[in-house]
Symmetry: C2
Subunit: 232 residues, 2 copies
Amino acid sequence: MSRLRAVTAAPAAPLETVSGPKQARSERTLYRLLDTAETLLAEKGLAGISIPEIARRAGSSVGGFYARFQDKDELLRALEERFFAQLSARLDALADERRWARAATATIVEAAVAELVAVTVARRHMIRAFLYRAAQDRGVREEGLRFRTRVADRMRALLLGRRAEITHPDPALAIDLGTQVAFALMQQHVLLEGTRAGGRALSEAELCREVTDIVLGYAGIRRRARRGRRTR
Amino acid sequence: MSRLRAVTAAPAAPLETVSGPKQARSERTLYRLLDTAETLLAEKGLAGISIPEIARRAGSSVGGFYARFQDKDELLRALEERFFAQLSARLDALADERRWARAATATIVEAAVAELVAVTVARRHMIRAFLYRAAQDRGVREEGLRFRTRVADRMRALLLGRRAEITHPDPALAIDLGTQVAFALMQQHVLLEGTRAGGRALSEAELCREVTDIVLGYAGIRRRARRGRRTR
DNA sequence: TGTACATCAGTGAACGCGCGTTCACTGATGTAC
DNA sequence: TGTACATCAGTGAACGCGCGTTCACTGATGTAC
């Protein structure tokens, strides 16, 4: 279960959302504001953060904020842009074909689910804030759907060559909907603060196991071992 | 696909959330305010409604509102209480054992999914508002989880007698998680304003079909007919 | 059946609050010469 | 290398806004006699 690199790291490419700063000083302020906003998001949620508070906690000022961002929406879009850039890097690493040449199909699905679960748990506050905004703003929503589509595309590229191992009559559709089921379960995990089964909260490892099971069961991919070891 | 009875209908039992009105006139005001709030919820979402606007649209006044409800939160809790009472009535009708004595197991699952999908589509605005509040308030969240648990309990009561038809090694767990998967997909449907597959939006009937398929596939229940008729 | 009156219901202006945003200003940076 | 100065970066008080809520008041209801 990998750790995310510190949020403070500057991105490989500059953010498109904000117009570029002209001095090194202002760039540092920009990332301090972004990081502070993300910290406050985790502490208080989207509704609990205000620009005066972001500015204060970042050691900046309200005016300083508006010198970097056109308005509050631009800050949030920048936060989302950075988040999806980080997710994309992870997706690229995961979906590298050379990594899976010798692996069983079920192993690939298992690894993808483990990655999804790890990211969801680590970044749940960011994801929750994103879901709020996505529910209200079509553009934000479509950004999320585009990412999910890219995940499904990558999974298809990895798994469709192994269609003999997929009993679902339409393997491409199975991969698409399997991805959606996994995302839906993670979305529920974030919104309801955890996932319960058989009367108790599931650990991260159990969550991985159950989600993998559901996806494999739906697509009709043979599991690696029998699944009898589970308890009520 | 049944229609919900008009929202204006008074509930069978009085709402516990609000302290009882003393005159018929004030009871009418109470339900006018509740109905107006629900209409505004559908039009503008939770963030878009205010007490002055609810009062104005209901032909009441701000003070009139506060004579009925202690505060805004009490209104929202009353709305949720009424919603869950309506859902419970539908659940009771659906889970009546006598209705299913001669039915195939897959038919029961199919009917339950159809009911879930129909309610989700019809009441999506209410559900969305509820999800917002659930994400912020533990009490609200638990009310939702209690209802989901009751659904799972009812499904277990209906299906566990037929465990011979369920190939999942732990049928009780399969029913529990199957319910959660269905709820998670509906939650996603509400938040992302629809469900897409194979590049296009799914109709309500297709959504029923796919969700049923996923649940049956996971639990290992034999389908009623072959599922080859689907198109990319 | 008539009426006095306590209680319930409803009115809408006004208040305080915290938000996002603006703006006149000061200070820091870096470059041209 | 030194310095003048245009530009960039940052400051924080102040503004307008819409919200939830309060409150002094008027009107409607229904019951006791």
